[in-house]
Symmetry: C2
DNA sequence: CGCACAAGCTAATACGCTTTAGCACGCTGC
DNA sequence: GCAGCGTGCTAAAGCGTATTAGCTTGTGCG
């Protein structure tokens, strides 16, 4: 063992009077498998490891095709967010928790990619290869990269459902469809027939799932679901009191918002203008981050199980690494817990009544 | 090249009709150094790389070269805190930022150590060795571990000043001494002569630094600094209105709290009881976390430069790794920016006046 | 012509580990 | 006495890359 450098298996082998193969077998717990090592020898090896302070070289281990116990975490956004109310935080909490339980260390990919935006491929090199597998988090992902990654057979799991070329990639996903269906079902059960679904996100998988749940709830109740029930818009400010007035006049009795923030703004807008919620208008939000600092107590919605999604991603990745040939159907879906509020109620008796109220309010 | 696996330098070499050495040299831009490769050959190699879609194998590269670009991050507390207002968060933000700039990936040590509490040494083995060097964060550190770590010559940096056997270890530290001296100086400039320093923490380096700054400010102004000016207590609730009353009666005109939370509680306690701050009592806090969600607008204090401390730790570690023989004096000190408030003012005319006010208030 | 020297390349080795074929040995059963 | 077998171990072959000592060839120069 050269001065100043770490001991290798070779050094351990020499100290314990065995071959490096024995050392490797003992370290990897394969001493009682096909090849057997006497317990006396095992103990000598372990003692030598302790004496010399041996730690395996990760790169060598990986090169030789062994276990490194390192999972990569790649986020398209900065990992440690400046804003403590960051949406991604709970995912990472879940990832760390489960990594600890499953005995993995986490390798965070923070190296710059020159372009400002983060990329998996850096200088032509797949950064993730430094880890055995990786969990990917973020909204701003690069589909081409994901596609390439999958083609290469690199083991990874996305947090959130993602499709590449119409096919689901390994992922853990919130059951937006089911949760939306249940929530909208509650509106229908309360008597609503004309429900407007307001989508602010660009077309992505989460929005698609919610839309599907929305439509399912309608069809399950035998309500025809014309496209005019889905309102897509770019930004929150585009909804005004004027919009609300028009919708109510059209006979709309309930609004389903994709984002809880917008739901909350509109709730305040409506109540500030004298509209009663529920009564004149019922409001639901299709999901709420598990953020302990913010409480939208009153809006009917459901929790997005972020920690579970993060933890589930690690569990799934672990399984993929252990059983590379297992056929698993993606995504792994995790249910959302309902958050009861006070914004669902029976609709106003008729469209005309709604109209009156709004005119009074203005 | 086997099916299903990525092309290697060997494949490129064969395709371009050269040896693997040439491929390696071209890839690493060393084709014009000691060993020269004709530009025609270089172009052939590059073309083959493009044709076959070659991507270097990181593990092999690391094994052969030694450079891993991986820094360890060891925290005694969980890394992704559940509480978004966690004190450690900003340190990690800084670490990540600087790691990105300095072109390092971060290896988070999350593997359990069996004992519940996290430890660097696991089964007698230094876990950190998996990385080139490590940044350590946390209050609950194990001094023996740090001592051993240093003796082994492992490159590491602590975030926050730490002494082992009376000697400073590599660390980045907030300039508590200077900031405290300046802040207490402002009290003195306002006319205060009897200032009570209230310490809640157990005896550690940060508390010691503040105490030193406090005493320096006093001696610089020629004020004798008897020990009775330092009040140590375990928990916040132990300070009551009764205490305040006694202190004012003793002629104390200003309080310096180690923790801003306590300062804030006492401020509310005092004002709730009719005491005027400042006026009857001036209050300062010796440091405030860089937490954007909490605003103690009104208390005079200073920011603890947490992000800079984290970033500085990475910078320092980088330097230690690059110049192992450089002699650097520790800790690297980072100044604290003052946060002006409204709780410093001139003292009450006399001790007796203070007494009166308190008696009215009670 | 003979030598020195540069250019352009190859062969070989090392990095630290995992894995597997196979060896030596002692025991059992016939 | 020997085949057959299990136990405990070793030797050796990679994994994909970087590095370097040398080899060959061509060129300039005295």
């Amino acid at each position: 063992m050269k001065r100043g450098s770490r001991p290798t298996q070779h050094d351990i082998a020499r100290a314990a009077g065995v071959s490096t193969a024995v050392v490797s077998l003992v370290i990897n717990g394969r001493a009682n498998g096909k090849v057997k090592i006497s317990s006396a020898t095992q103990e000598r090896v372990r003692q030598a490891i302790r004496d010399l302070g041996y730690v395996p070289n990760l790169a060598a281990r990986q090169l030789a095709g062994g276990q490194t116990n390192v999972l990569g975490v790649f986020t398209y956004e900065p990992i440690f967010p400046m804003s403590p109310t960051d949406f991604y935080q709970p995912f990472l909490v879940g990832i760390e928790e489960q990594a600890t339980k499953s005995d993995y260390n986490l390798l965070l990919f923070t190296r710059p990619t020159g372009t400002g935006r983060r990329h998996i491929y850096y200088d032509g090199v797949n950064q993730l290869l430094a880890a055995q597998g990786a969990v990917l988090v973020g909204t701003n992902e690069d589909r081409d990269e994901l596609s390439r990654l999958r083609d290469e057979g690199y083991p990874f799991v996305f947090v959130g459902r993602r499709e590449i070329n119409g096919e689901n990639i390994p992922a853990t996903a919130a059951d937006y469809t089911g949760a939306t269906e249940a929530l909208v079902g509650r509106l229908i059960a309360a008597g609503h027939r004309q429900i407007l679904y307001i989508s602010f996100q660009s077309e992505n998988e989460s929005a698609a799932d919610r839309t599907r749940g929305f439509l399912r709830a309608l069809t399950a109740a035998g309500i025809p679901a014309p496209e005019c029930f889905v309102h897509r818009t770019e930004k929150a400010p585009t909804i005004t009191l004027e919009h609300l007035r028009q919708w109510i006049a059209q006979g709309i009795t309930a609004l389903a918002f994709e984002q809880i923030n917008t739901a909350y703004e509109i709730l305040e807008l409506a109540e500030g203008a004298g509209l009663r919620v529920p009564g004149d208008l019922s409001i639901v939000a299709l999901g709420k981050a598990d953020d302990p600092t913010v409480h939208h107590h009153d809006i009917d919605t459901f929790f997005i199980p972020q920690r579970e999604m993060g933890a589930g991603a690690v569990t799934l990745l672990d399984r993929i690494l252990r059983e590379p040939d297992a056929s698993i159907s993606y995504p792994i879906t995790i249910p959302c817990t309902p958050v009861p509020g006070r914004t669902i109620g029976p609709p106003a008796p008729s469209g005309a009544a709604g109209k009156e109220v709004v005119e009074q309010a203005l």
